[in-house]
C-alpha cells in the first residue's frame, strides 16, 4: 500500500504541473490580459507596459511559468491578486474553511440520509414508499440548485421567518458553526441534490448486491434479512458511494458556486468564478492548484477506502 501511495504521489506531481501549465497558457492568451483586467479601461499603453514589466508578464511564457513554479516550490508563494490586494494563498486560506464547512456538511448530511433511503427503497421495493422516494429523487435531482434555494428562502425565510436567508457570515469555522440556524437552508440546498443522486446509486447497488451468490449462500445458511442486508450486502453495496464520495472531495474544496452566491457565502466556488471573470490569473492558478490537489487526494482516498471496505481489493506492488 505504501508503494502504491508513493507511486500515486509521483503521478500527482506530474498531474499538478500539467494542469497548471494548461491553465497558465490558456489564461495568458486572453486578449487584454491581466494588465487590462487590473487597470481597467482608463489605462494607457505606458501604464500597461509598466504593469506587465513589474509583474513579469513581458517575459517569455516559459520563463513566467518557471518563476511561478519556483515561487510555489521554494516558498509556497502562489502570487498576488490585484483584485483582492492580497497574496493568493491568503485569499484562498480565508475562504477554504468556509467551503469545507458548508460543502462538507452538505456531503455528510447527504450520505447520512441517502444510504438509509437507498436501503429502504430496496427493502420496500415496488411499494408506495419506493415510488414516492423515487419520484422525489427525480424531482430534486432535476431541480436547479438556484431554484431550490430561492424557493427555500422564499418560504422558510421570508414567509415563515424560521431561518436566515444568509449563510453564517463569520470568517472562522467556530463562528460559522455557532450560527446553526443560518446553516440550515444552504446545507439542505446542497444536500438535497446529492441525496437524490446518492440514494439512487445506493438503491441500484444494493439491489445488484442482493442477487450475488454469497448473499444467497448467507440466506441458505439461515442468516436473517437484517443480517443479510447490513452485514453481508451493505459493505459491497456501499462501494459506488465511496467512489462518489471520492469524486466529491474536489467539490468540498472547489466550493458550490450557486449555493454560495445565493446565500451570500463567499467560498471557494465563488472565488474561482470571480478569478475567471476578473481575469485574475494568479488567483485562477491558485484555485486550480487547490482543486487539482483535492481531486488527486479524493481519488487516492477512494482507492484506500476500497481496500478497507473490500478485503479482496489489493494494490499490486
Amino acid at each position: 500500500m505504501i508503494g502504491f501511495i508513493f507511486r500515486r504521489f509521483l503521478q500527482a506531481i506530474v498531474v499538478i504541473v500539467g494542469v497548471l501549465l494548461i491553465v497558465f497558457i490558456l489564461a495568458h492568451i486572453i486578449p487584454g490580459g491581466a494588465a487590462r483586467a487590473a487597470l481597467g479601461p482608463r489605462a494607457t499603453k505606458v501604464q500597461i507596459a509598466q504593469f506587465n514589466h513589474l509583474n513579469h508578464y513581458d517575459q517569455p511564457l516559459v520563463k513566467q511559468f518557471w518563476l511561478y513554479i519556483d515561487g510555489l516550490v521554494t516558498s509556497f508563494n502562489l502570487g498576488y491578486s490585484y483584485h483582492w490586494n492580497q497574496g493568493v494563498t491568503q485569499v484562498i486560506l480565508a475562504r477554504l474553511p468556509k467551503t469545507l464547512v458548508l460543502v462538507g456538511m452538505g456531503t455528510l448530511v447527504a450520505v447520512i440520509v441517502a444510504v438509509p433511503l437507498g436501503i429502504l427503497q430496496v427493502v420496500r421495493r415496488n411499494k408506495p414508499v419506493d415510488y414516492v422516494l423515487t419520484s422525489l429523487s427525480f424531482v430534486f435531482y432535476a431541480m436547479p440548485v438556484f431554484l431550490l434555494g430561492a424557493l427555500l428562502i422564499l418560504y422558510f425565510s421570508f414567509d415563515l421567518h424560521w431561518f436566515s436567508s444568509e449563510a453564517p457570515q463569520g470568517a472562522t469555522v467556530l463562528s460559522i458553526l455557532s450560527q446553526p440556524r443560518s446553516l440550515v437552508l444552504p446545507v439542505f440546498t446542497l444536500a438535497a441534490l446529492t441525496i437524490a443522486s446518492f440514494s439512487r446509486y445506493m438503491r441500484s447497488s444494493m439491489m445488484e448486491t442482493l442477487t450475488e451468490d454469497y448473499v444467497r449462500t448467507a440466506r441458505a445458511k439461515g442468516a436473517g434479512p437484517r443480517r443479510v442486508l447490513y452485514v453481508h450486502a451493505l459493505r459491497n453495496a456501499v462501494i459506488p458511494i465511496i467512489t462518489l464520495l471520492g469524486l466529491s472531495i474536489p467539490a468540498i474544496v472547489g466550493g458550490a458556486l450557486v449555493t454560495e452566491a445565493l446565500f451570500n457565502y463567499p467560498g471557494m466556488g465563488l472565488l474561482a468564478y470571480q478569478a475567471i471573470t476578473n481575469t485574475d490569473i494568479p488567483l485562477l492558478l491558485g484555485t486550480t492548484f487547490f482543486a487539482t490537489l483535492a481531486t488527486i487526494a479524493g481519488s487516492l482516498l477512494a482507492d484506500i477506502l476500497y481496500a478497507a471496505v473490500d478485503p479482496r481489493i489489493r494494490y499490486a506492488k
Partner: protein, 629 residues
C-alpha cells in the same frame, strides 16, 4: 442688517440644497419623525466591489468608487469636495480649503486652508497639500489620475506661504474651472505623521512633506513605498506576500483621519465598520454612532438581505423592478416586498458610449476609412432609438447620452443642443444619408458602396467600390439588459443595411481588445462595447481631453479631429465655456452614444433620514444620516 443677511443666506442655502426632481416625495429624505441620536446604519456594497485599498494615493488597480468615494473619503477628505446635493459641482462647505483664487492671467493659484484638524491633534495645513503634490511628482506613474502634461507637470512652482496658504505657479494660463475641477480635485492632504518610512518613525522623518516642491523625489518615493506596503501593495515586488488588509482597522497610521469617520473593523471580504470621529472638526458631525458596509456575493443575495431587514440602505436589482416608470428620476412604485423602503434612482456623472475603431483594418481593410465618414456615423447614430430602449429594456430607468457631457444628473454644463438630441431616431434619414453618398442600401442585407470618390455624392475618401457596411461588434457579457440592447440595435441597424455581427466577451476581454492602435493587420477590431462608457471623476469638469483628444490615453478608437483638439485645449486653458466643444463633438459622433442605465436603484429604509439627495459621484456621507422614530 445682520439678521437680514442671515435670512438671505438661509434662503440661498435652502435653494441650493433643494434637489431637482430626483428626490422622491416620500420618507427617507427629509420627512418627519423624531431624530434619534446614535444607532448603526448598514449599507450594502454592490457585488464584486469590495473596498480593498486604504491609502488615498493609489495606482489604477485600486482606483475605484468603492475604494475612494465609499471608503477613503469617509476618513480622509479631499482638498476640494465635489458633489453638491444632487449636482456634480464643487461643494464649498465640505472642502478643506476656500475656493482657489486665480490671478496673473490665471497662471497663479492661491489656496487658503480652512481650520480643519487631524484626529491626532495636528492641523490640516498647506504643508499637507505640498506632501501630496510632492508624492505626485515622485510617483506620477503610480498615481491613477496622472496624465502626461497635466498636474504636476503643469506646476512650475508650489510654495507654502504660511500654514494656511500655498501658491501654485503654473507653466501656462489655465481655465480656472478646469484647473479646480480636474487638477486640484485630485489632491488629498496627507498628515505629516504619514511622512515616514518605517513603523514608529517620527512625523516628518520621511523628508517628503517639508521638501520644496519636486526636489526630493527619492525620499517621497520611499514614503510612498512604505505607505503602499501598509496598504497591502508592495510597488517594488507585487508578488511579495502580505497581510496588511487585516491590519487596516488597527494600524495607527490609518487611524489618523480628518474626516467624520474612523475605521473600527475591516476584513478582506469587504466588511467594514466605522465609528464616528469624536474630534471631527467639520460640519455636520455624525449623528449615527456607527456605519457599516456589508459585501454581497450577488444581487440576489443583496435583495434577500434587503427583504430580510438586514440592511438600512441597499439597492433594488434592476431585474426586481416591478413597475416601469415614465420619468427616470421618479420611481413608479416600489417592489411589494420593500414597502418600508423608499426607492430612489441614482444616476452618476457619466456618459455611455462605445467606440468605433477609426484605424481598423477589419471589413476587408475598409472599416477604419468607413468610420471616418461623418455621414456613416450619423446614419449609424440615427438608428439608435435611446428613449425607446430605455423604456422597453430598462423599465424606464435610464437616461440618454447625446454628447460628451452628461445631461443627467442636472448640471450647469450640458448644452441645449445636447439635451434635445441632435440625432433623433430616423430610419428615413439614415437611408437617405447612405444613398445620397453613393451606397446601395439593402435593408436586411449588406449595404455596399457603388460610387467611390470624394465628391459630395460619393462614398468618401479611401472607401473603395464594393466596400460593405459589415462590422463585428463585441460586447461585454454577463448583463441581460446589455445583450437585449445589442440585439435590438442590431435589428435597427439592419434596416439600413448595416450588417452587424455580434459576439460576446468578458469585460476584460472587451476592454483589452478596445485598445488604440495604428493601421496594421493586428488592428482589426471594429466596434467594442464594454458597457460602461466613462465616469467623469476626478475629471469632474467634463472636457473629455482623456477620451476624445488625438492620442489621448483612453481614446480607444483613435478618434482624431483638429477642431476638437483645438476646442478641447480652449476649455482647458481659457475661460471659454464648454458649449462650443460639446456641441461640436455631439454632432461629430466620435463614438456611438448609448443609453445610460440607472447606476443604482437605491432602497432607503423609511426610518433612515438624511440620505437624499444622493451624491451623483456616489460618495457616501453617513454623517448626514440619522434614524427617526
Amino acid at each position: 442688517m445682520l439678521a437680514l443677511s442671515v435670512i438671505v443666506a438661509a434662503l440661498l442655502l435652502a435653494a441650493c440644497s433643494s434637489s431637482p426632481s430626483s428626490s422622491p416625495t416620500t420618507a427617507a429624505g427629509s420627512g418627519s419623525g423624531t431624530k434619534v441620536a446614535g444607532g448603526t446604519a448598514t449599507w450594502a456594497e454592490a457585488p464584486n466591489t469590495e473596498p480593498n485599498y486604504i491609502f488615498p494615493f493609489m495606482s489604477l488597480a485600486y482606483f475605484s468608487v468603492a475604494n475612494i468615494n465609499q471608503f477613503q473619503f469617509l476618513m480622509y477628505r479631499p482638498l476640494y469636495w465635489f458633489g453638491n446635493g444632487a449636482q456634480p459641482t464643487l461643494n464649498p462647505s465640505l472642502s478643506l480649503a476656500d475656493a482657489p483664487v486665480y490671478s496673473n492671467n490665471n497662471t497663479t493659484v492661491v489656496v487658503k486652508m480652512k481650520p480643519y484638524k487631524w484626529s491626532n491633534g495636528e492641523t490640516v495645513t498647506a504643508q499637507d497639500v505640498l506632501f501630496w503634490v510632492n508624492m505626485m511628482h515622485s510617483d506620477k506613474a503610480n498615481w491613477a489620475a496622472y496624465a502626461p502634461g497635466f498636474i504636476p507637470d503643469d506646476v512650475k512652482t508650489l510654495t507654502v506661504d504660511s500654514p494656511t496658504q500655498l501658491t501654485f505657479t503654473l507653466t501656462a494660463s489655465v481655465n480656472p474651472y478646469w484647473f479646480t475641477y480636474n487638477e486640484l480635485s485630485q489632491i488629498t492632504p496627507l498628515p505629516i505623521a504619514w511622512d515616514i518610512t518605517s513603523t514608529g518613525g517620527s512625523a516628518g522623518s520621511g523628508g517628503c512633506s517639508a521638501a520644496a516642491f519636486g526636489t526630493q523625489d527619492a525620499k517621497c518615493d520611499a514614503v510612498y513605498t512604505f505607505l503602499s506596503k501598509e496598504s497591502g501593495y508592495d510597488p517594488a515586488n507585487p508578488k511579495a506576500s502580505n497581510n496588511s488588509l487585516a491590519t487596516y482597522a488597527t494600524n495607527p497610521i490609518w487611524q489618523i483621519v480628518d474626516g467624520p469617520w474612523k475605521l473600527s473593523s475591516f476584513d478582506a471580504s469587504g466588511n467594514a465598520s466605522f465609528l464616528s470621529n469624536p474630534s471631527y472638526s467639520g460640519s455636520p458631525k455624525p449623528t449615527l454612532a456607527k456605519f457599516t458596509e456589508l459585501p454581497f456575493t450577488t444581487d440576489d443575495a443583496e435583495y434577500n438581505a434587503l427583504v430580510g431587514g438586514k440592511i438600512n440602505f441597499g439597492y433594488l436589482p434592476l431585474q426586481d423592478v416591478t413597475k416601469p416608470t415614465t420619468n427616470p428620476l421618479v420611481p413608479a412604485g416600489n417592489n411589494p416586498r420593500l414597502s418600508t423602503f423608499t426607492l430612489a434612482p441614482l444616476y452618476t456623472w457619466s456618459i455611455n458610449y462605445f467606440p468605433e475603431n477609426f484605424n481598423s483594418t477589419g471589413d476587408g481593410g475598409n472599416a477604419g476609412v468607413i468610420w471616418k465618414q461623418l455621414y456613416v456615423r450619423q446614419a449609424f447614430q440615427d438608428l439608435v432609438d435611446q428613449p425607446l430602449y430605455i423604456n422597453k429594456i430598462d423599465h424606464g430607468y435610464g437616461v440618454p447620452t447625446y454628447g460628451p457631457v452628461p445631461v443627467t444628473p442636472a448640471n450647469p454644463f450640458s448644452s441645449s443642443l445636447e439635451k434635445n438630441n441632435p440625432y433623433p431616431y430616423s430610419l428615413t434619414k439614415a437611408k437617405s444619408l447612405l444613398s445620397t453618398h453613393g451606397w446601395k442600401v439593402v435593408p436586411g442585407g449588406t449595404t455596399t458602396c457603388t460610387s467611390p470618390g470624394t465628391g459630395a455624392t460619393q462614398c468618401g475618401k479611401g472607401v473603395p467600390s464594393g466596400a460593405k457596411l459589415a462590422f463585428n461588434l463585441q460586447f461585454a457579457s454577463g448583463n441581460a439588459s446589455q445583450e437585449q440592447l445589442m440585439n435590438t440595435e442590431k435589428s435597427s441597424w439592419a434596416q439600413a443595411g448595416f450588417n452587424i455581427t455580434l459576439s460576446q466577451g468578458s469585460f476584460d476581454t472587451v476592454i483589452g481588445n478596445a485598445t488604440a492602435c495604428t493601421p496594421s493587420a493586428s488592428c482589426s477590431w471594429e466596434l467594442e462595447n464594454w458597457g460602461a462608457g466613462w465616469v467623469y471623476a476626478p475629471d469632474y469638469y467634463p472636457t473629455g481631453e482623456e477620451i476624445f483628444s488625438t492620442g489621448a490615453g483612453s481614446n480607444s478608437g483613435s478618434y482624431s479631429d483638429a477642431t476638437n483638439d483645438h476646442l478641447t485645449v480652449q476649455t482647458n486653458t481659457t475661460n471659454t465655456s464648454l458649449t462650443a466643444w460639446e456641441n461640436y463633438l455631439a454632432q461629430q459622433l466620435p463614438v456611438v452614444w448609448q443609453p445610460n442605465t440607472v447606476t443604482a436603484m437605491s432602497e432607503i429604509q423609511n426610518t433612515l433620514h438624511g440620505v437624499l439627495p444622493q451624491d451623483p459621484l456616489w460618495s457616501l456621507n453617513p454623517e448626514n444620516w440619522y434614524f427617526v422614530k
